[in-house]
Amino acid sequence: MPETNKTILKLVDLNKAFGGLLAVNKVNLSVQKGELRALIGPNGAGKTTLLNLITGTLRSSSGQIFFKEKEITHLHSHQISHRGIARTMQITSLFSGLTVFENIWAAVQSRKKFFNPFIRALKWQDVKEKTDSMLELTGLKDKAQLISSELSYGDQRILEMGIALSTEPDLLCLDEPTAGLNSQESMVLVKKMRNMLSGQTIILVEHDMGVVMELADNISVLHYGAILAEGPPKEIKENEEVKKVYLGSEHA
């Protein structure tokens, strides 16, 4: 394991209760800079809830979240975005009536401090250049003028990652990027992700074990809201407990 001063995200005794149900149960988790951490677990294990806590979409019941050594437990989503955490959603979340270009633009522009109401947006040359380079990176340049809802589903997933990346995050949370894609489309997506996301620190929630085993540096297994096991893919694959609750016999 890398040394602790490279820890970028740290969850300490994090709890989230919905009524009597503990969706996230005393989770302690450290993510290192540059690492791709996969979060796996059966349906309802609390993976998305955990992401919601990290990105401020939900408030934790107790516990603390530290990002880049500062506490972010009680910040709002938009503040957390400015601290450097970006996210994609399980159900694609785009500015669906706007063009691909405008989608990326909105995200690039968000890093500005003051939104002048008296100039044309296109006067912001630096935003324009950055938007173009993000379109290049995502491979969506040819489709820049299409309305984003007209894109193929796979491209919509890519666009959402492009939006998240355009905020220049230090940590990117991806919530099931391959959800709804067939295995062939998943493979294409994973290939693109490798290109786009190299060097990024990532938390990846994913159901597709093939994708997880291929991309993850480390895996944390959630079960009933608690961390059941943690380690590199090989170790997790061999872990008896994990096999029992999650992977099932087909992966054994």
């Binding site: 975005s81 970006a86 500015f95």
Partner: protein
């Protein structure tokens, strides 16, 4: 869509043309129609300010009547009871509604969807009830009548009692407001509004303080609705509690939906068409609202993007087939 190039020239041409027609018209029409058009300009201002929060920011506010009525009363009471000059009264008709819209917005923008709609109706209803009952101050449903002193700005002077002078005065302010709003919706701030309209959660996740920007949109729209109310009273020399009724907001809703929301030009067209229709029908029909209602239902069902949306899609098809 918020980022497009090369359409400035076409816009300047059309805008100048329309402006020129309206500048020339008073020489060809009688005083009755000059007043009618002046009122139309006021409703256009009210509708485009509504378009900013509804069409661009996605907030269906029925509370705009409150700000319209407040602007109207601000002008009337400042001149009638406080003896202020018209310049100051008009300035206050922007500022005071803005202060109130900060208050209303502070509570409203935390809510979304139908809850937002209802709370804005409630605020307007409270305003209307206060207006109706506090007759010593507002004149209640009888209203207040006054006579505005000339508007002076340096050497520039407009006699607002003169119908033609009043016409040009209102036209100038509405045209300026239009340009101001057009620039705003094309500006970086406008992009924030549009992002919020398109997907509030996504906007939040990329770092926009959604509530703050909704409030800013609400303040700007409130100020301009106030100006519309102020100009309305300067035109009619009158204010009444009914201006505060939430159904006044319905005018803006109808014009914006018929013309096309989120386009600015849409509410202008919508106001022009609906008001002309009402004006024409009233000669031989009592239930003009019924016809307007049918037009509204038809537009919502057949052309949800309004007239401007219809024209745009026709042009697109032409482009595609060419």
């Amino acid at each position: 869509m918020f980022l497009h190039k090369g359409k400035s020239f076409g816009f300047i041409l059309i805008f100048s043309l329309i402006l020129f027609i309206f500048i020339a018209l008073p020489f060809f029409i009688d005083l009755f129609y000059q007043t009618f058009l002046t009122e139309l300009f006021v409703w256009i201002l009210f509708a485009i300010s509504f378009d900013l929060i509804f069409g661009y920011t996605g907030l269906l506010s029925f509370g705009q009547a409150l700000f319209f009525g407040l602007g109207s009363y601000t002008v009337t009471i400042s001149i009638l009871k406080m003896g202020l000059n018209t310049e100051l009264a008009l300035l206050l008709s922007i500022i005071i509604p803005m202060i109130f819209s900060w208050f209303v917005g502070y509570f409203s923008v935390k809510l979304s969807g139908i809850h937002f709609v209802i709370i804005t109706i409630i605020f307007a209803l409270i305003g209307n009830i206060i207006g109706e009952t506090w007759t010593a101050f507002t004149g209640g449903s009888d209203g207040l009548t006054f006579s505005p002193p000339p508007f002076r700005l340096g050497l520039f002077k407009v006699n607002l009692i003169d119908i033609k002078g009043n016409y040009y005065f209102v036209l100038a302010l509405v045209a300026l407001s239009y340009l101001f709003l057009r620039r705003m919706v094309q500006s970086p701030l406008g992009k924030v509004f549009i992002s919020i309209r398109e997907n509030e959660d996504r906007a939040r996740l990329i770092g926009y303080n959604v509530q703050r920007y909704k409030l800013i949109a609400f303040l700007i729209a409130g100020g301009l609705s106030g100006l519309a109310g102020g100009l309305y009273s300067l035109t009619l020399k009158y204010a009444a509690a009914s201006y505060l009724h939430w159904s006044i907001s319905g005018h803006a809703v109808v014009y914006t939906i018929v013309g096309g929301m989120g386009t600015l030009m849409g509410p202008v067209l919508g106001a022009g068409i609906v008001m002309s229709l009402e004006h024409y029908l009233v000669n031989f029909l009592q239930a003009t609202d019924l016809v307007v209602g049918i037009v509204l239902v038809f537009m919502v069902l057949m052309a949800p993007k309004g007239l401007v949306g219809l024209i745009q899609s026709k042009l697109k098809r032409k482009e595609a087939s060419a």
